[in-house]
Symmetry: C2
Subunit: 220 residues, 2 copies
Amino acid sequence: MGVKERQEREREAVARSILDAARDLFVAEGYQHVSIRKIADRIEYSPAAIYSYFPSKDDIFFALAEEGFRLLVESAQAAPDDDTDLLTAIRRPFLSLYRFSRTHPEYFALMFVDRSVPRIIRDWERFDFVRDMKLRISQIIQKAIAAGIFPPETDPHAVFGILSGAVVGPGVMQLCSRLAPGDDADALARDTLEAALTGLRAGFPITFRPSQCEDTSAGQ
Amino acid sequence: MGVKERQEREREAVARSILDAARDLFVAEGYQHVSIRKIADRIEYSPAAIYSYFPSKDDIFFALAEEGFRLLVESAQAAPDDDTDLLTAIRRPFLSLYRFSRTHPEYFALMFVDRSVPRIIRDWERFDFVRDMKLRISQIIQKAIAAGIFPPETDPHAVFGILSGAVVGPGVMQLCSRLAPGDDADALARDTLEAALTGLRAGFPITFRPSQCEDTSAGQ
DNA sequence: CTTATAGAGTGAACGGTGTTCACAACTATA
DNA sequence: TATAGTTGTGAACACCGTTCACTCTATAAG
């Protein structure tokens, strides 16, 4: 009597094989060079069949972007949070973001710089695991503020935004090969992060007021 | 007897009209949505005709990228260099770069983040006016180092790279709409730049050793 | 003034793209 | 066994960048 269930399982298996094929192709060649026909070839279905699993090519890459965010969060959490000093704990996720841009350039491009897949993040609801990570990092920053590592009255969310910006810049420049030929992008990323971090600790009038992602836990 | 000259002028006029049409289209709709056929339509030529003026679509956008760099350098030089204090003079070109990303987003995308036009900068030789600007800015930074605004032994080219990175990050995040809906990208860019600048002045061990763009003037 | 020539511009085509749709084929239910 | 419903397909549409054989025209030569 598990007929419906089996059918559903089969459907899901095909959907997954589409995503797998798409991922393989796009990790190897980039979004631009993945076509529906190539995916169809690889899974031995007709191109049209894919459209009964995903409404458009973009939706396949929305799914892959979500996969990318999971990968990112995973690798950012690989190391422990607490047993090291606060500054190191703060550096870690941002360096991790930069490293992600090098180890998974195509994912990074899809998630952060590609404009051909417009509005890759439609439903931030589906990305609550990203918001969770953001909150966790902000809490560490908050702890650092309390510990006097940053000036009091510093907004932890602003720190998050600024350090992200500091690390995304070099990442994108490297990804898009906009650096001078011999430049060491890794060192640049490290230094830009370190400069921003040092500057934040030294203190200056911060004007950036991030739109707090509405905290589900009341108060705090 | 000026027949050859007239013909050459006419050729150049058509080439220019192709670039104009391409620019209009791509400023309005982005590189992705500009097709040879649309350009051809607009200038009332057949698509094939364009290929006797530019060897490929990419070459049209190489030309537009160069135009973009000229625009950028222009706007970065609009204000005077000297009569203000050194810190302001240092901030200016980087804020200018960020502002450029807002006022000319499609140019900025083409010049810095678009990967669909691979290796947009083939001949850095043709972009010596960019190198000139870079050198001029580095010299101001050098002056600031001499004036004790930065720690001694600071590499002005590293400062240039770091401040660029600090400003490109927010620019790209805004361009690719990867910021949270309510976030003020302008403030983020200002603050990231200011954080990096403050950090550089406070001093930390810089590891980034930029590949000096070979200075034509011997010594110095 | 006529003819030959070089060059610009064209239409049609090639192989590619994302997407749609009528239809065939198979499966599960009654 | 007949019926309903789902799944996959082939063909097509409207695009894309690019190429090529061709025409036509304006110039130069005779």
